[in-house]
Symmetry: C2
Subunit: 302 residues, 2 copies
DNA sequence: TTTAATGATAAGATTTTGCTTATCATTAAT
DNA sequence: ATTAATGATAAGCAAAATCTTATCATTAAA
């Protein structure tokens, strides 16, 4: 099939269906010679006659039937694709790949869920990974959008804050500082902190914060999740600094308490992030808008 | 998908596969801008970006993946069709619709069978009908080739003889004339004949023959098949005129005998027939050639 | 910082495509 | 025998498609 064109197939389809060159010409708003020429060219590419004329009537040859079958299949493929693409444009369908940094695990699912409720036919994939891996995924364009607390500097990145992310100091309710108010920052130097691993956003923010205030902390154990930190703090192994958003349950059940330290909470934000050249799909764009407009009030209702 | 072209899909496929405009350009022996332009046009028809560029690498968008899926399907359709058509051209595959007049039933199957043995993948359909129906089918282009003893005059017909079709007078072996030699034609006037129905080729040929020799026959019963005539003749109800080719079994088993009448056998032929405008497929042409070249020696071996 | 590679964009030349009008040949119907 | 309809063919024209060269911007690597 060296040089078949869609035009040829379209004209051919009309002729094969009507079994008349003239009728097909009318249907396509063409003159009859135009139709004859298209068919002739198609027959030339195919290398076999597609019609035969017996008296005044025309019939499809076997080869013609084969081409007809084929052209109908192709038309179907195209219209299927057109439908799918149309839905993609219109938000009715799409895939959404989100990666979030571990800590976001405490609120991201809620956001995704309510977004999905509004948009049927959106297939969703959420990956919860640590900051390091997320940076890697970002570099390799493995997701549509990322959610993180500390956007990287180097890469060409677009990062927009959409939710407050206060970091607070936690302690077991039995801790001596639990009852105090306006604890001076320097007081913390006497305590041991259980911290996240190097490279973690929370760890970085925390270190920078204390360094800015001229403090050096004694860090005890390193944990790879906030959950682990909370458990260790509960067990009395030291204090911790975590995002406020991760504490809902523990505060309610009074397993942990937030210390009233001066200059705290550390004011940070959650960012929705993607690389600069990224072509956001309709769905991705919609989700981003959703985060920017509605996340705050969903997570921290008035 | 208003105006997608095969060219666009072809170029797109190469880019999507290589994930590089420049590589695709090399593969297609084009310059890189040519590729960029084709893609741009395709994206315009589709209405969505198909690629995204993140740094130096390009990736398919979701829409791009959909178009890729579609373009591969289309390519597959085309190559399937190309394969089938190629086989049609090369005789490796094809359909063959043959209609034969009732009498040919005695030898046509044998010919078709041996033709099919040589050509695997040829689908065959044989219709055995009376002359009247066959003429109708011919007018409506319902078959590729027909086999008959008396091609019609009116229609634009191409008819070529490929096999001798001698008509002989048959009688039961017990008939008084069975033992005689060189029976004068006029002697037959005293006999009763069992004949085929009006419109039958054999009947026409027979009537014309006797008319030419100035004889009028007394016709008895009319039968619609040669088989019925043979049965009736065996039963002693009269003489018959049939094609020699139908008699193999009856002669061998001595149920019937051929009378040695002057001027007999009536010399006729079997014709392979199709309408003038007919586009013979490769298979049909091959079968026609086969009949013209080999039928005689297959049916009447030396 | 420089260099090499990648893709986008613009301008322009050329080829191809697709169409129309005019005319002819064949066929079926009147 | 005429007539009406169908498709084929030829000539000519306008639009488009396609490609190339030249140049630029961006990015990653040396």
């Amino acid at each position: 099939m060296l040089h078949v064109t869609f035009r040829q197939l379209k004209v051919f389809e009309a002729v094969a269906r009507q079994l008349s060159f003239s009728r097909a010409a009318e249907e396509l708003h063409l003159t009859q010679p135009a139709v004859s020429m298209q068919i002739k060219q198609l027959e030339e590419s195919v290398g076999l006659p597609l019609f035969e004329q017996i008296g005044k009537k025309i019939f499809l040859t076997d080869a013609g039937n084969e081409v007809y079958r084929c052209s109908r299949n192709i038309a179907e493929q195209l219209s299927d694709a057109e439908a799918v693409l149309g839905e993609m444009k219109g938000l009715k369908r799409g895939k959404l790949n989100i990666s979030v940094v571990s800590t976001a695990n405490y609120f991201a699912p809620q956001l995704l869920a309510s977004f999905c409720q509004r948009h049927e036919n959106v297939t969703l994939s959420l990956k919860v990974v640590n900051r390091e891996i997320l940076l890697n995924q970002l570099a390799n364009n493995e997701m549509d959008l990322a959610v993180m607390g500390l956007p990287p500097e180097g890469l060409d990145i677009i990062a927009e804050p959409f939710l407050a992310n206060p970091l607070v100091v936690i302690a077991p309710p039995s801790h001596p500082l639990a009852a105090e108010r306006s604890i001076p920052l320097t007081r913390l130097a006497q305590e041991t902190f259980i911290v996240r691993e190097q490279g973690s956003g929370t760890r970085s923010a925390m270190e920078r914060f204390f360094a800015q205030h001229g403090l050096t902390l004694s860090t005890g154990m390193e944990m790879s999740t906030d959950e682990a930190i909370k458990q260790a703090v509960q067990a009395g192994m030291g204090l911790g600094v975590v995002s406020m958003l991760t504490l809902t349950l523990e505060l309610e059940t009074r397993r942990l308490t937030v210390l009233d330290v001066e200059s705290f909470p550390i004011r940070r934000n959650w960012f929705v992030v993607h690389r600069k050249g990224k072509r956001l799909s309709a769905v991705a764009q919609a989700f981003k808008d959703f985060l920017l407009k509605e996340a705050e009030q969903m997570i921290v209702p008035d």
